[in-house]
Subunit: 379 residues, 2 copies
């Protein structure tokens, strides 16, 4: 049986779903000759770790207890005091990262250790920078580490065999793995265009059906399709981070600020100027006319209006574009993500990957597939 020791960072929706997947896949994975040993778990404040990371792990009962406690909105700390003394230890504050690095030094080179980052924080970048040198494998659902400075990207991506990050773009959709296959076969990618926000995809196709932009955004917020402040989606920043990750895979040496990002709202409606309730009530309706005009213009050109990322040559852009109604992107309905890749092999018609590009279940499934994809690196 091949053992894969694992530290999980981030106990939000994706992290907890990953724990559930790991536990429910025990027999499936045993049949394939592998076992995931969760030796540590951290949320933003604390770390729960097996007392002896060589021989012990956080067993399934404690993992499910973590899920219960975290789903109730409590911190890992509350659990730490109740755990069986001697079997696990808890750390808080600056101790957390110090302890993760200590485990990485113990297990990284000797046993192999995967660090799975399911947080949405920039605070993990420091520890990721360090564990790569300690022989660890890295799996990311967190976009931040690869969409911050080029220096961090180069460091964390130093050994491409030891990093996977499918769920940073399009959740579990096989976007990164498919792109990497094309690149490794020497097929040069000359254009990528994609709709990588389920929220904005939903908004655009509802507006196309004749609904008012402001109404659609309000409904989306009510249904929980948007972030608590919908401007976090409407700014395009989340799509830009995904675009940056794809662009860097193609070899572009760019940063977030080199990407032309089109926002749905003007600066004077930004979060620092206008409270969210004010934006929802008074700001949004002011945007309806412009979107309506754009939709009409696109339609009269036989096109659909989409919010896309576009990478071509050394250009990387994110914004509202008219696209042929008959293309995969033009035909998109609802919240599915779509990515079109053009290369030597896919020149007339693109390679298209399409499907649900959000949700804790599929995002965590992508992380789990990534972890297993690197199993041959483990002793």
């Amino acid at each position: 049986m091949k053992l894969i020791p694992l530290i999980l960072m981030g106990c939000g929706g994706v992290g907890l779903q990953l724990i559930h997947h790991i536990v429910s896949c025990r027999s499936l994975h045993a049949n394939k000759g592998v076992r995931l040993r969760v030796v540590g778990l951290c949320d933003s404040k604390s770390l729960l770790v097996a007392s002896d990371v060589y021989s012990m792990e956080l067993d399934d009962s404690i993992l499910l207890e973590v899920c219960r406690v975290k789903s109730n909105g409590s911190s890992l700390v509350t659990l730490a005091s109740s755990v069986v003394a001697g079997e696990h230890q808890a750390y808080s504050g600056p101790e957390v990262m110090r302890k993760v690095i200590e485990i990485a030094s113990l297990l990284g080179k000797s046993k192999g250790l995967t660090i799975a980052d399911c947080s949405a924080s920039s605070e993990t970048i420091g520890v990721l920078n360090q564990v790569v040198d300690l022989g660890c494998c890295i799996v990311l659902a967190n976009k931040r580490p690869l969409s911050s400075s080029l220096e961090d990207f180069d460091k964390i991506y130093g050994d491409p065999r030891r990093i996977r990050h499918e769920s940073t773009v399009g959740a579990g959709l096989p976007v990164i793995s498919s792109l990497n296959r094309i690149l490794s076969s020497g097929d040069p990618v000359n254009r990528i265009i994609g709709s990588l926000s389920g929220t904005l995809g939903y908004v655009m196709s509802e507006v196309e059906d004749g609904k008012l932009f402001s109404e659609v955004v309000r409904t989306a917020k009510t249904l929980g399709y948007t972030e608590p402040d919908p401007r976090d989606d409407l700014s395009g920043m989340d799509v830009a981070r995904k675009a940056l990750i794809l662009a860097r895979l193609l070899g572009l040496r760019i940063n977030l600020d080199s990407i032309k990002i089109e926002s749905f709202y003007p600066e004077d409606m930004g979060p620092s100027v206008m409270p969210v309730n004010d934006f929802m009530k008074n700001g949004l309706p002011l945007l309806d006319k412009d979107i309506e005009d754009k939709i009409k213009r696109a339609s009269s050109n036989g096109n659909a209006l989409r919010y896309v990322c576009m990478i071509e040559d050394s250009r990387c852009e994110v914004g509202i574009r008219e696209l042929p109604k008959e293309s995969a992107l033009g035909r998109l309905r609802g919240s599915d993500n779509v990515l079109e890749i053009y290369s030597r092999c896919y020149n007339q018609q693109p390679l298209v990957v399409q499907g649900a590009g959000a949700g804790n279940d599929t995002t965590a499934a992508g992380v789990l597939a990534d972890i297993l994809d690197m199993q041959d690196l483990f002793p």
Copy 2:
């Protein structure tokens, strides 16, 4: 530099394109720290092999010479007599497989050895059965080894980490890799439906545009889109082999003869009854009326008519089906392949992979990506 020793079986269009890809990717792969060492090459009659497989390889000049000779329609044997004495050796007849197995015993466990089967023959199955026990990795573009007996499938698929076969279904399209990711994450696949023949996809979308079936097939033959005898496409056998491979990945313990295969032509127009010219001239037009009726019926139901493989529960079928015009399959135009995968994560809308599913370039690119995907298994 990680060295990947390789024996290539099959010097048809795909095999030669693979050689071209390997040679043209030398610097790309060197930048990634890998080098593909082609130690042997065989066509259906003979084998060309480096004299000392430990230290020597078939260098790029001899590889390109092989491409030249084979493109002219000659056999590898003609080359064997002209090669520099002492650097390479040539084998023919029963010697070929004996020598391949000898090399596999020398290199398989000690250095790692990949056997890439780019032939379309059942004759490689015997040697593949043997090399798996010798520690070799296997990459297949050839559908036969995985679509013959379950016994052969089990043997060749014995260690799933040591086999890749992306190009057996949909050429280089990331179909197998995407499906395997879903399965390894424990996301149960409950339905697969796909258009996996570029030829039949082209035929169906032309017929949908109002053209006569017999005319479309004749044009497709003239353009080289079909096999020399178009009944090889129209029988559905090629699609059935692909369907069988997908079904077996889902765990179905079935054989080719358990698949319900709908052919475009009746048995009394089969190759053993009717010569190909007779079929093209007199047989084909007799099929027009039936197809036309089916198209009309589908259209009046708001559906499109497609030739698809369908795997659901323990059922695996290949044939003409009505599909919603708004689905990825219904919207398909031209010769692209499309696969729709339904699972727990992709339940409302499927995961869709679409793009060119034929051609030597993309098929060989898929093989090359597969070879590189297993590099971590090599010392």
